[in-house]
Symmetry: C2
């Protein structure tokens, strides 16, 4: 009842301008986009969007070596995008941030649109 998301009005562009002049915020944003800019990482994150998964499950999804998955998971962990918990021999990963799911959805929708100029 206090703060609902109302994404309309011109106070938004005011806030936007503030964020754009904050280099730390901008850099932080680029880091998020960077996490999503790699094919393997994108597959990992989008797979986790469907629900938590072990490393070996992610390996099947991404079709790369277990080592490659682990390295990328480490990067995602370090950036706070995923969290890990042990379950016996396995380690279960899940998304740490709902924001990532939102970005994936938006990115996918836009990538799927025919408006894309593509090559001629």
């Amino acid at each position: 009842m206090d703060r609902e998301k109302q994404h309309e009005g011109q106070q938004d562009s005011r806030r936007l301008a503030d964020l754009l002049t904050n280099d730390d915020v901008v850099y932080s944003a680029t880091q998020i986009f960077d996490a999503l800019s790699d094919f393997t990482r994108f597959q990992i994150l989008s797979a986790l969007m469907m629900g938590e998964k072990s490393v070996s499950e992610l390996q099947i999804v991404c079709n790369v070596s277990q080592s490659a998955i682990s390295h990328q998971l480490r990067l995602l962990r370090d950036r706070g995008l995923v969290t890990a918990r042990r379950d016996g021999q396995r380690v279960i990963y899940s998304l740490a941030d709902e924001h990532v799911a939102t970005l994936i959805c938006v990115g996918l929708e836009h990538a799927a649109e025919p408006e894309r100029p593509s090559e001629e």
Copy 2:
């Protein structure tokens, strides 16, 4: 044919799953995120979000060499994210895709938010 929004949730995740299995769409999405993952390119795109700008104007915003700006603009042009038109000696760039603006906004908002582990 009027039952469009019965269960938007299910429909959405269905469509989402379809997109996620399409490697071309996924790759296309990663390319968009890649464009936003660099500090200079992010500055260019967010500056253009405020309105069209010439190369020299963008140079001031980004505080790097004119050559660096041009190189990045070429990349963004090749990926269809910006368009260019001549105006006398200058070349005016503008965003070719409003999707980019959406992503920038979402990314900035999320980057600016304090870490909130639990929600709902």
